[in-house]
């Protein structure tokens, strides 16, 4: 084969918070690490995270990792794995200190400690008063963290492959993953990167929905690569719709606005969350608030000419608080909604935001899949961390402030585990030529010329279909229709042709490859959702309105082969503390 090849101890695909935090551990251990990213690292979507990262530092009021754990388990609607959640909540504290030491410009309290704001679903003392657990750098926390991690990687001399697009994982003759085929976007040339361990840290797939807070790049590339490698995706039906996207556009307005004291009103000026969550009100969990907004609109209490949004009121906070704590939100509102929140409320509506599900891993970031008879096996040499992975710490609904935490904790841990793995497995496996041919075939397919639908057409139809049939409320009828439409779209995909076959920085080719990834992932959402006949967390079915722990307290696993579903038990046993048994979830 004439494909240029590079060799590294570890290959990290994705340069957001998870990938970069893993890379830092590896570079620190003197391993040769390559980070492949389809965009320059600081363009990764971690940059857009606003509100902050949760850790029970207790800087504002008493707090404990155990309370954080309770809130996360409850927030997950009891679908999260309690061992992983305990681990994450414990690790949160040193993780945030480590970030601060690395240079993150956190906002500060008068005593010099890190400022923490209240966020949805947070409580003191296992469901008591509101906690303030979200460590913030104004409302640009993700930006501050991503830039800091990139900066520390510069210091560590990590090897970056910027603007390289990962095509597929490659295997040796035994089927063990040993690197990936990537495409240099600038030249249009393929490159084989062989590695002893590979970490998927490719982020989410909000782009499968038409209205989303997610960036253009969030197309589920890693999740789709895993699917094509025969690995199932877990809990894909659980997709979070963030309550407050700018109406009609989808840009995010952080939950921090409500943490700082903002609240939602309907067309009558009523603070309607009081009806849906009498205690937590606007700081109820995101699934609860999103459903409330959609219900208000459906029942005719929406604002505006078409009554299709609600309002987020902030003006009572005063200009000083808004400028100090929410400067980015003020800017975004002015640009995209044409309103200044200091004076008038912001029109908002739920926007596709976050994937709770993903590539199944254990709490060390190792990809794990069923091996028959209820046991699980680690996929040798393959890791996943961040939004593309499912540890599972978010279960059926993620709490605000837990996603930055997830990527940092599990990115770091995957890095540490890879160090051990590479020490024990120091020899590079030989890539099997059939595996490489298959990956090259994915590229070659787009060289086909002739007439056919365009990527843009299919992409638009697909995203509309996902929005219409896999949104906030899902019934059997809506979802079955959606699944059938998706099957039709999937059948049309092979007919799609590119008209531009040039090599240099051909973004049409990249978008074609991304469309394939999105459609693979979109199908996993639709099929998983159709099968789960209960309402839990973000998966809300008017035809099965109750949570059904008897039948459905289990993780879904979707296999691409035949759109097959499988299930595995939730790990309800924590590492050291008592389990939190499922209870009715009220806020």
């Amino acid at each position: 084969m004439g494909i240029p090849t590079r060799h590294f101890d570890a290959l990290i695909i994705g340069a957001g918070g998870a990938g970069l935090n893993a890379a830092l551990q590896l570079a620190g251990a003197d391993l040769r690490v390559a980070v492949v990213s389809k965009v320059f690292p600081t363009r990764s979507h971690t940059v857009a995270a606003q509100g902050g990262v949760n850790a029970a530092l207790a800087n504002m009021m008493p707090d404990s990792w155990h309370w954080h754990m309770f809130d996360t388990v409850k927030g997950s609607d009891y679908l999260g794995d309690q061992d992983a959640i305990e681990f994450m909540c414990r690790e949160a504290i040193p993780t945030v200190y480590e970030l601060e030491h690395a240079g993150v410009p956190f906002s500060r309290l008068d005593n010099g400690k890190i400022y923490q704001r209240p966020f949805g679903g947070q409580s003191q003392n296992f469901g008591g008063d509101q906690a303030a657990r979200t460590c913030a750098a104004a409302d640009r926390t993700g930006h501050a963290i991503l830039h800091t991690l990139y900066q520390q990687n510069i210091r560590a001399r990590t090897h970056f492959f910027d603007e390289f697009f990962a095509i597929d994982l490659v295997r040796d003759a035994e089927g063990v993953i040993c690197g990936a085929l990537v495409l240099e976007i600038e030249t249009g040339e393929p490159l084989l990167i062989e590695s002893k361990a590979t970490l998927l840290a490719t982020g989410g797939w909000g782009q499968v929905f038409r209205t989303t807070s997610n960036a253009h790049i969030n197309t589920g590339d890693g999740a789709a690569m895993a699917l094509r490698a025969g690995i199932p995706l877990m809990d894909m039906e659980f997709f979070q719709f963030h309550p407050t996207g700018i109406a009609g556009k989808g840009m995010l307005i952080t939950e921090g606005t409500r943490g700082e004291g903002g609240y939602l009103i309907n067309k009558d000026g009523e603070r309607f969350m009081e009806r849906y969550a009498p205690r937590a009100k606007d700081l109820a969990s995101r699934d609860v608030v999103s459903r409330a907004i959609v219900t208000e609109v459906k029942e005719g209490r929406g604002c505006g000419e078409n009554g299709d949004y609600v309002m987020l009121k902030l003006d009572h906070l005063g200009e000083a608080v808004i400028s100090k704590r929410l400067p980015g939100i003020r800017e975004s509102s002015q640009i995209f909604a044409g309103c200044d929140p200091v004076i008038e409320p912001i029109p908002v509506f739920p926007t596709a935001h976050y994937a709770m599900g993903g590539i199944p891993t254990d709490r060390f970031g190792r990809v794990a899949m069923p091996a028959g008879h209820g046991s699980e096996e680690v996929v040798v040499g393959l890791y996943a961390a961040g939004e593309c992975a499912c540890a599972s710490v978010h279960g059926a609904n993620r709490l605000g402030g837990n996603s930055l935490l997830d990527i940092l904790v599990f990115g770091r841990l995957a890095g540490k585990d890879i160090i051990e793995y590479v020490r024990e497995n120091p020899y590079q496996r030989a890539v099997d030529s059939a595996s490489l041919d298959q990956a090259m075939g994915r590229l070659g397919r787009w060289e086909q010329k002739g007439d056919g639908p365009t990527v843009q057409q299919l992409r638009a139809d697909f995203r509309k279909c996902m929005e219409d049939h896999a949104g906030v409320f899902r019934t059997e009828e809506i979802m079955t229709e959606g699944y059938n439409k998706l099957c039709e779209l999937r059948d049309r995909l092979p007919e799609v042709r590119l008209t531009d076959h040039s090599k240099v920085f051909n973004t049409a080719r990249i978008e074609a490859l991304e469309l394939e990834n999105m459609m693979d992932v979109g199908m996993s959402i639709a099929v998983s959702a159709l099968h789960r006949k209960e309402s839990r967390g973000a998966h809300s079915r008017p035809d099965y309105p109750e949570r059904d722990d008897q039948t459905w307290l289990k993780h879904s696993l979707y296999y691409q082969d035949g759109d097959r579903m499988d299930y595995k038990p939730v790990r309800t046993k924590p590492l050291t503390v008592e389990s939190f048994p499922p209870k009715e979830r009220v806020y």
Partner: protein, 230 residues
């Protein structure tokens, strides 16, 4: 609305040209939306973009002679005919995509990371709100490159002059009460080019889409150098 876009594909073109497209406008339309519309009509058109809300810094372009972030530039603010070109002074890879290698190299050259020499505390390094406020207007940089590619000094000496974006980050760390590498940072900036090629032309301030002020930061570095007698 007519939009005129710079086109150059090294695979097929011998020289660049401007190409006109007719795009339908809508309320709240940003320049990025217009470019996406062009892409819809002609998939061979390439430009970088991602978050669509002005935080990732991917879609810096030059429109009607001014560097902007396309995703937060309302088309109503632009005079017709709208002419969109790549950033000035950078080698063009294709269409609006430019080679930013030197820009990133200059960023890396200022050691843009916190250096701490004391043993680290068990908890956070304390910082007063007043000291933290000194980082406002500095840490928010998104590395879009609008400033450096609008800077005549950077056009002339992109391999020697750090440029406004990198120097803003240099000051971001000099201004951080937690950083302990002031001397090394100042020493490294010595010489006629890295810092002192800034002639306070202030194009950087003019174009920064985040409202930051690299010229002021550069002035502060110079003041600190004088203070320290470097």
């Amino acid at each position: 609305m007519k939009i005129s876009v710079y086109r150059y594909n090294p695979d097929t073109d011998t020289k660049p040209r401007m190409q006109d497209y007719e795009v339908k406008t809508f309320q709240g339309m940003m320049l990025r939306d217009a470019l996406l519309e062009v892409k819809k009509q002609d998939e061979s058109f390439s430009f970088r973009h991602s978050c669509g809300e002005g935080v990732c810094g991917s879609d810096g372009v030059n429109v009607n002679g001014r560097n902007v972030l396309a995703c937060i530039t309302p088309i109503t603010e632009l005079k017709e005919p709208i002419q969109v070109r790549p950033f000035p002074g950078r080698p063009v890879i294709r269409d609006l995509v430019v080679d930013m290698t030197q820009f990133y190299e200059q960023y890396r050259a200022v050691q843009p990371y916190l250096v701490r020499k004391d043993p680290l505390p068990e908890q956070e390094i304390l910082q007063s709100p007043e000291d933290r406020d000194k980082l406002d207007g500095l840490y928010e940089c998104i590395l879009c490159g609008c400033c450096s590619t609008a800077c005549p000094s950077f056009w002339w000496n992109p391999e020697k002059f750090h440029g406004p974006a990198a120097l803003l980050q240099s000051w971001r760390f000099l201004a951080d009460s937690r950083d302990q590498a002031t001397e090394e940072r100042l020493d490294a900036l010595d010489g006629p080019y890295k810092l002192f090629r800034c002639h306070s032309i202030m194009n950087c301030v003019e174009v920064c889409p985040k409202g930051l002020n690299p010229t002021r930061a550069i002035g502060k570095i110079k003041d600190l150098m004088l203070d320290k007698g470097v």
